[in-house]
Every structure is written in C-alpha cells, then in structure tokens.
Symmetry: D2
Subunit: 375 residues, 4 copies
C-alpha cells in the first residue's frame, strides 16, 4: 500500500480514571475522517477486562482502514475500560464487573426514556434531519449533564461509561467488541436490524428487543428505536438508520492477530454494506447462520458442585437428552456416582461454556440457543 | 439460669451448596417454640460474607432466649450464606456478591407482584385470618415453585436465597442482620413500621418505600404492604402486622461478643414490644434517633484516586462545607496539591465509610443521611 | 470385566481443614491391596487448585486398576488439597499458593536432612531391609512429630502437606499429578531415575538434582537419595529403589476424561515397568523424548506490559532469534510500536506459557528447555 | 516557617512497571540535600500494598525536613511499589505478594554474600574510607548488573526491588516503613544497632540476626555486617556505621495524618541521634520498651476454622493460660462447643493479629513476643 494514499489517523488520549497511587488510566482514541457521504461509525473493545481480542481486531481494522476509501467517519477505541483491563487477579483478568461493587461494567450506560414523548410531540412537524440532529444533541446534553453535574460524584464505571457513550452517540453505527468465556462467535443484534446480521461472518445471532438494561448497544439503539416508535404512534414512520451490535469474538484471555484479521474483514463486510467504505470486495462469507430471541438464549446452571468435562460442540444443534457435559465427583467414587451426565430436555445449540472445569453448585455451565431458527 | 426452665432448642441443618470438591455447604437452623400467642420471628445473619457480627448476636440471643417466656416461635439462622461466608480472598472475606457473576447476595430474593390483584379480588370478602393464611401459602408455593421447577437450574445465590425465604415467609417479623464496611449502627425500616424503629438501640434509621429490589427485608414486607394497598383500593383497611428490618450492626470483619450481647438486648427490646417475649424488662435505651428517607441516603464517590484520611465522625451532623475527608496524593507533592480536603454542599450525617484508605477515582467514600430528621 | 475379579477398593476420608463457617474440608483416599511382591505406590492429584486433570486420571486409574493383577499396594488421593481446589476467585481457581500467605502449596513438605549422618553411622552394619524399615520409621516419626507437637499450631498448608506426606512415605513410588498453566505434558524426574522417564508417554523431562525445596517429589526422594549418598561415603553402595515424579499432565482448569484415559495408560506403563502390576501389555508409546536439567529450565519474563499473542508451538525446538511471542500495545499505535516481536538468543523448546494474554511487565511468559538433549 | 529558609526539594519520577494496557506505574522520589557532614538517609514506604500509613509519614517528614538544618542527604520514596499499592481486590488492597507468583514483595532484594571474602582480603590494608567506597561501588555494580544483564528478563518484583535497592545502597541509614495487619507499632532492628532502637517512639523491638532473607533492611545491613565480620576474622575491627530498620507503623488499610505527624517526630528523634539533623529538640519519648529475638517472635496459628473475637491487648504482657482469643463456632451450638477459648502455654506480649474475624484452620491469628525483655 502506498504511504501517500493512507487516510489521516488522528489520535487522542482520554483520562478515564485514577488509581490509589494517583496513576492515571487513559484510553487511546483513533479517528479516521471520511468523505462525509456515509454514516459515522464507533467501535470500542475490551469493556470487560478479560475480553481482549477486540483490541487485536481494532489493530487490524486500523491497518486496513488507512488504505481504504472512507465515506463516513470512524472512531476506534481499544482498551475502553482500563480499570477492568488492568484488574489482574492471580494469573487471570477479573474484569466483568467493578471489583468493589459487583456492577457489570457493561450495565452502567445511560438512557432517559422519559424525555421521548415530550421530544416527539415537540418535533411532530420537523424534518427528519432536524429531528435527528436535535435528538442527538439531546442525548449528548443528557450525558454531559451526567458527567458534569453530580454533587455526590460518579462511580468508577459511570465515569468510564459516560465518556464512551458521549463518543458513541455521535456515530450512527456502533460496534461493541466483546468475547464470551470459552465461546463461539456470536452477535447481539436489535430485532429491527436483523438483515445486517447476515453481513458479519458470525454464525450465531441473538435477536434483542427494545429493552434498556444498561449495555452500550442498548444505550445507543434503544433511544432511536423508542423515538421511532413514538413518532409511529404520532403517525409518522421514520427510519433513523442507527444500528448497534455487541460482537462476541470468541473466547476471553486470548489474543490472536491472525484470527483478528478475519474478524476485521467481517466488520469491513458490514461497513461496506452500510456504505461506510466504498470497496465492494468486502463481502460476507457463505455460512449457515442461526438465530434465537434473547428470551430463548438460556443459561444452564450446574445442578451440583464438581469438575466438568464439557462435551457439547459449540454451534452444532444438540438433540434433547444428548449429554452436554459430565461432572466428575471423585468424593463419591466407590460409594456413589462419580460421573454424572447432564443433558437438557429440548434441542439447543450450545454457544459458550464456563471458563473453568471447577464449578460450584449453581455456576453457569453453558449458554445455549433454544427455539433457534436459520437466519 | 435453671436448666429445667430452658426452652427447647431444635436444630436442623440445611444443605445450601456444593463446592468443586463436592464439599457440602450447610446452614444450621435453630428453632425455639413459643406459646402460640405472639407473632413468629425469623432472624438470619451473615448473608454477606464479611458481615459476621450477626452470628455473635444470634449466639447471645440463643443464650438469652432459652431462659425467657416465649409467646411466639423464633427461628434463628447464622451463617445464612456459607458460600459468601467462606469466600476468603487474601486476608479478607469477599462476600458481598457472587464472585463469578457480581450479583449481590442480598438481591436474589423473589417477589411476584403480578399475583396480587387477582388474589385480593378473589379474597375481597374473606376474613383477615383466611386472607393471611391463603396469602402466606401463595408466597410459599411461589418459592417452592422457584426451587423445584427450573429446567435450566438455579444460580448459586438463588438456591440460597429461596431456601432462606421459605423460612422467612413463615414468620411475621423478619430481622436480617448485616453490617456496613466501617460503620455506625443503622436500621433499614419500612415506612409504615417507623414506630418500631424506636425500640431498637440504634440511632440511625433509613425509611424505605414499598419498592422491591431483591433484598430479604423487601421480599418479606413488600408482598404484605402491596396486598394491604390492594385491599385499600378495594375499600378494606387491613393491617397484617408484618414487619421486616435490615439491622446494620456496625463494621464488617469483626466479632465482638460483648457488643453482640448489647445488640441482643436491643433486639429483645423490639421483640418484647411486639409481644414475642413476655418479659417487660427489655426496654429500649434513651437516645437521639435520626432518620432519613432512602432517597436521601446518599453515597459520596471519590472525585480522585488516592489515600483517604477519613475525618468525619459517624452519627454526628456535619455542616455544609466542613471537611468529611482528606485525600493524600504524594505523587503531587512538590509540584501540585498533595492534600485535598473534601466536603459536601449540604448538612449531612455520616453513617459509614469505605473499608480501605486506598481508593480509585469513583470509589464510594461515605454514605450519609441528607434531609435527616429526629425520630 | 467380571465384577468378581475386581480388586477390593478401600475408601477412607481424611479431615484436612476447616473454613470460617466450620465446614470441614475432607479428602477421599482410595487403597488397593496388592499381592505383596511389588513396590508400594502413592499417587495424588490437585495439590494446586486449578490443576484438576489429575483427578480425572485417578478416576481412570481406579477404573483400570480394579481389574488388573496388583503386585504392590496402591494408594490414590484425588482432591489432595481441598482448600486450594475450592478457592474460586471469579471464574477461575486461584490455588497455586495459600491466598493469605502466598506460600506455594507444593513447598510446604518436610525433610530434616540433619538426621541422616547420625542414622547412617548408626546403621553402618545393618542389612538393607533393616535400614529401609528403620529409615521409613524415622521419616514417619518425624512427620508425626510435626503434626502432633506444635504449641503454636500449623499453617493451613502444613497440616495438609504433612498428612499427605505421611501416606507418601509409606510407598516406594510417588506420583504427584500436576498441570502447567497452558502447557504440554512434562515430567520432573530425579536424576538417578532417568531411565524410568522413558516409560511415561510424556515427551519432555526435567532432570532434577538432590536438592530439597519443599515439594512432594523432593520430600519423598531426597531423603533416600541423601541416605544412599551417606552410605556411599561410608563405602556401602545401596539402592533403595525409591522414585518420585511430578507429572505435569497439560493445561490447568480443564477436565478431559478421554485424555485422562491415555494418561492413565501412561502411568500403568510405568507401574508395569516397576513391577507394580503384572500385565505386560502396558508399554510406553514410541516418541522422541527431550530432557534438560532443572538449571536449564528457564522462565522468560515479559520485558513490557501488554497483550500477548503466544506464537511458539510447545515441544518443538525453536531456533535462536525466532519469534516466541508478539505483544500488542495499542496505546502506542500511531506514535510508536504497536507490535513487539520477542525472541530468545539461544535455541529452546517451549514447554508452557502464561494462562492469560494480558501481562504486566515482568510476568512469566514462557518456560523453556535450554541445553536440551534427547532422552 | 520562613519560605526562604526551606531546604531545596528535588523530585524525580522512576518508571517501575507497566500494566496490560501499557499504563506506566511510576514512583516519585524526593531528595533533600544536606551539608555533607552527616550520614545519608533513605526512607521508603508502601512496599506492601495495604501498608499505606508510611506515605503519610513521608508527607509529614517532607513538611518538617524542609525547615530543619540537614547535615546529611535524605531520599524519601512513597508508593515504593505501585503494583502492590494499586492491587485492589474487592474493597481491600492485596499487596503483600505478587498476585501471580505469591512471592512476598519484600523478599526480592539481592545480596551476593560470596563476594565478601575476596573483597576483604583484597582490601586488607585499605583505609576504612577506601573500603567503604569500594564496597558501596561493588554493591551498586552488583545491582546494576542484575538490572541490566538478564537474558530471560526480570520478574515484576525484582525490577521494583532492584531499583529501590540501588537508591538505598547510596545511603548509610535505611528506614523501610511498613505496617502490620491490625497491629501495635514495632521495629525490626539488627542486633548490633539495638542502642538506636531506643530513639524511636516505638515500644516493641524485634532483634534480628545477620541472616539474609530477601528483605530491604537485610539487603542493606547484612552486606556491611558480613564485611565487618570478614575484617574481624582478618584481625581488623571496623565500624561502618550503617543501620537499617523495618518500621512497623501500626495497622494496614489506614491513613491518619495526625498519627503520621507523631511518627515523623519519632523518626526525627532517631535522625537527630545519628547526626542527620542538627536540631536537638527532637528527642525520644519516655516509655517502656520491650524486645525479643526474631527466633522468639512467634506466629500462633488457629487450631480450627471459625470466627474470632480477638481478646488480648497489644503490648501488654499476657500470662500463660490467659485467653488470647475466643472462636465462635455457631455450627456447633446446641450439640457441641460454640465458644472455644484459646491460650498459650507461656507468657507472651501480643503484637499484632489477623485482619479479619473469619479464619480457616491454620490461619495466623496472632504474632507474639516470647522470652521478651526490657530494652
């Protein structure tokens, strides 16, 4: 690639937190400017500390994007949560939740649904451009207010989440790069954007409703979906063309730059489809894609403590009654059952399993698709 | 005390969980039978792992109660959550939430509000005795259903919470013994039961609304309060005389049997007031009691990382602008401010503070009463 | 296999510790009686909490051994350290060291070298049978003394280690089943027993000297080796035929019963070679076996913090200068080196690597054989 | 104090480590220049993460020292170990050992005893000034070599320890500020420097031998003590006037700037005695000072799991048989002993106890002076 053709990369560093010694935790932000004709994109990675592979995907995206024709602006944020990312405990990284409060780092984003009825009535007659700009400003003002006006302060996670959300609200398309514990690739996709799911090289999609539970994807698509519905009730059918996905890249605690390159291609296929990049050579791979609704994405909890031999293969339909795992209980050897085979009473597709063989009674063993269908 | 006069103590052991080695975690349950003329009582301790002092209070209660005249039945459960109680991490006990999921152990109880409208309509003409019995059966059936019919299993915390709740629903008065991190004594009290707060030797009361957030106290009083309101809307004013309190005994990670004896007397004062024990010599101490509403019980988050010298005295009103803490930042010595004084913009009563001097930006430093009033 | 032919399995349960709630932690001990003509064997697993696969190997050994002709007695102890085995922290198991003191669970065994000169002089003229029996009694008395006479008590780990050691000293051959973090199979073998290493289906052997550092293998072979040397200095060449190995089965946090079956066959091959079992069909697999001396088994520490893409393949010689890993540093992207390739200045065989991609500066990245040779 | 009179304070920042996100961990170093007639001093704090009070003492020392007449140079290093200091786990700080390896942060310093015989022979006829300078250079060269020439890298803790040791070796007097868990003030003092212990306002002194175990105090006094002995064997009695102390300031997890001011005065009393500062007004407080030898400083381990009510008062002699603690075992209530009183078989002075009431069997409950004597 010719150095001259490279798109200009702008780097900023955000202050995200301070530790006990006063050490600052910062986050690098990379911006690529597009020609203005395509939607804006926001991509972040590593909100959960152990889910590091997204950083490698952002590396590969940056390498690739600098040589492509960009129609929209793209912002990329690796190490989005440096508190979680640096929270080693023993050999592993314990960054799914604030270690002091237990609150999931990806449940601290903000959405104030109450503002919408008033807003939609106020803009009943506005053009979609005016509505879009005004609503975006409302979302941004709301976040600015949370960041700036807080007599009693912000939690560690709110300070991080709100700063990230401020950047994400400026984009039209949002990708939050996560991983499972030990996991196949899967995608959380808002119901209305299901067509887009086919453009990722990801075989499993969880279809989620318009229900805000604090996550980044929800915090960026729920406002627009809710607004669209509010206008729908007022008789106007609007499409703001906003999409947000949580992209689960595979297993945690792993960096693989070669796999990351494939994942970058998958994201470029989606961005090409949405008109962010001009190069038609980025196309999705042919594959069987399964989906299920969020309500049918079930966690299966261990009926006993023990040591688990995980048997089921990710992504392959498993018939009712087929063993999904077997649990070793050597304390029972000789005078009880030392091996317990576990199965479910319905057909499922196993998507991910727990990161360790050692489980307590009640530990989440597997997450599975029930009532799945081809996409 | 004469051995002959001792009330009969019945002990059971409940299976609460299993660890990876198969080791069973059990909970001892102590029951004292009353004469049947007073309300039933359920007292548990140590739902959060580090909050151990309640076990010592149950010890002292058991010692005292065996020699008293009991009008109602009393069930006492120390070590209510053996998973949390045994979750040492380094020197300390990390038992505020499930270490795998981050979910607070005291947010996993169950209340199905949807059942109430149908129930109240159905029992519009029933006697209060019939209503009470039928509703208690409904609550118990609901919990039994959660425990028994779960294809995908229960989480570690649900299994514990539901078993405890099954016992608590059989009682009329519920005391859940907790502690703060480093803390004064305080009480969470439902709004309608505020008169009872004066019978505990506890100077600070947080008045809580009828809003279920998963805690034991809420799980046991919200159903009855909601039922009462439902009947109110149907024109019947009923009082089921159910009360639940979360009793915060002081600081975590400490056992003090002498202080526990005082706390046991405080609980006996309340039980005497409610007619559970017959001995009128158990009376509350004279003290100034402050209260505030839950919405005015505020957490103050650290505006910076650093090392905290906690200055404010628990329980004493602190004027607006008075220093509540100072934060040492030696990294700034010589070329910045090494000492930062923190204060609030309104009068407060500090109730508890964080357990460690070392804080990140955004760590909860203090919890304080705002808009407090004398009880 | 015919039920009638099964060897008698005797099970005992040892009390190994108590947790804060009083819950007892126990260890199951399985004993199979041999015909008395072969050496005695002691096999334990899971001394380190996350290293669980040895339990599955013991399961498969128990299944197989019950149907074989046993010449010597065999004792098998899964879950040898229930404190470590149950020490979950977040999703993972943190059981390499006592979480309060930091002391490695496998560095708390006992060996009192000072006793040996006196003993050997005393038994200068004794028969080897007398020496062996007297010395075994000395070792056992020494451990009994540590367990029983301790005014100030024992640490959690000493209580466990000494109880295990008491059983191990009664055997002639000791296998301590461990795993690496993410690892190939490898074997720690005392220098004098190197011929035996060829009977395990394990391609990498670390040859260790007669130097006691607190581990189970050392605690059981160093005394006999030292005794042999002491007699050597007195002019008597004795061979007590004692061997101890630390068997590293692969990666931690995993149970795989099928792989465990293969590992059980590998152990049976060794036991057949040593005359513990009579069935000559258990033979080692043909494979290239590499070895290096303990002093040449090197840990390679990360020169920087970052996220690691581990590149080197376990077990394959890696030339000097070839990349062993690359470290991603997204904070440097755009204005520094985002990818750092690491290599070593000499040929090595990578044996294991760290369990997580996220490392601090100074984290152990790899352990490698230097100066390796074919066995 | 007049601004003009203030001694010049020079600040440097050392790079001590990097985390997974690439964030640098740095340490501030403060230097005050003396008139050259007194010994040089090195003071560090917070090598163990939870032991933060020393930072406050350094704050107060800096405030005081800037206005005093300094005869020797003084170097002060707060937050000496930023990895440990920032290693929060839950509410607490887990910084006594490297969380990955378990190695105590204060056991990674370096001392190569083997060099000394050759050195002393070589300098048999040198003047004490030449010996002192040459030996200091040898120590510094040795550390520089450890820092710079390491093909396989350094562990996280070695990199920190060696950088600190490089500064400490340049001084004559070394103070390493620590704390116990919950603890009285005490002092580790080399046997030959016992007279100096009386100049600290610290009532308990542990007298330590010339035995290197990896700690900062040992790493700085053992070389000189060993050198002095080597010259003694050669017939020269030399006194290099080097002293090192580990100063245990009280309990961990606490910052108290007022107490820190008192501790600063105690250190100034010692520095005045040693001729580092000229102001004779800094004098030790009158108090009974107890001491014992390190071999008589005993840890007492819990004979059972349970919840501990610590009874003994720090610093007060406790007679043999008097209760030191009682352990609550509610699981035994009703059918066993719910309260166990613990005592020792000899008179002791309790110095510190464990940080939590919840203990496993084998947890260190207390550390006590045995065979104590007045200083």
């Amino acid at each position: 690639m010719n150095q001259v053709q490279k798109n200009l990369l702008i780097k900023e560093v955000l202050h995200m937190g301070e530790m006990a010694s006063g050490a600052a935790l910062t986050v690098p932000v990379y911006r690529l400017k597009g020609q203005g004709s395509g939607p804006g994109v926001y991509i972040q990675a590593n909100m959960h500390g152990a889910e590091v592979q997204g950083n490698a995907v952002i590396y590969q995206l940056l390498e690739l994007l600098q040589g492509l024709t960009l129609l929209g602006n793209i912002t990329l944020v690796p190490y989005a949560n440096p508190v979680g990312c640096n929270h080693k405990n023993g050999e592993y990284t314990l960054g799914r939740f604030d270690p002091i409060t237990g609150v999931n780092w990806n449940r601290m984003y903000h959405f104030n649904e109450q503002q919408i009825p008033e807003f939609s009535e106020q803009h009943q007659a506005s053009s979609i451009e005016v509505i879009e700009q005004a609503f975006r400003e409302l979302l941004l003002a709301d976040i600015a207010d949370k960041l700036d006006h807080n007599v009693f302060g912000l939690t560690t996670g709110q300070r991080i989440a709100y700063q990230l959300q401020k950047m994400a609200h400026k984009a039209d398309l949002v990708l939050d790069l996560h991983t499972g514990p030990i996991s196949s690739k899967h995608l959380y996709c808002p119901e209305y954007a299901i067509d887009s799911a086919r453009y990722f090289d990801i075989p499993h999609t969880i279809v989620i409703p318009n229900s805000f539970d604090g996550a980044m994807d929800e915090a960026t698509f729920c406002p627009w979906w809710t607004l669209q519905q509010a206008f729908g009730e007022l008789g106007r059918e609007l499409d703001f063309n906003k999409e947000s996905f949580t992209v689960e890249l595979g297993s945690q605690e792993q960096i693989d730059l070669d796999v990351a390159y494939q994942d970058a291609l998958s994201i470029l296929s989606y961005l090409q489809y949405k008109g962010v990049i001009a190069d038609a050579s980025f196309q999705p791979q042919a594959m069987t894609r399964y989906a299920c609704y969020l309500k049918d994405y079930k966690a299966f909890y261990s009926p006993m403590g023990g040591m688990v031999d995980y048997l089921a293969t990710f992504g392959e339909p498993l018939a009712a009654g087929e063993p999904i795992a077997r649990i070793l209980r050597m304390d029972n050897y000789g005078d009880g059952d030392a091996l317990h085979y576990l199965s479910l009473d319905r057909p499922v597709i196993p998507i991910l399993h727990f990161a360790s063989a050692s489980v307590n009674q009640g530990t989440e063993l597997y997450k599975v698709f029930c009532e799945y269908f081809e996409l």
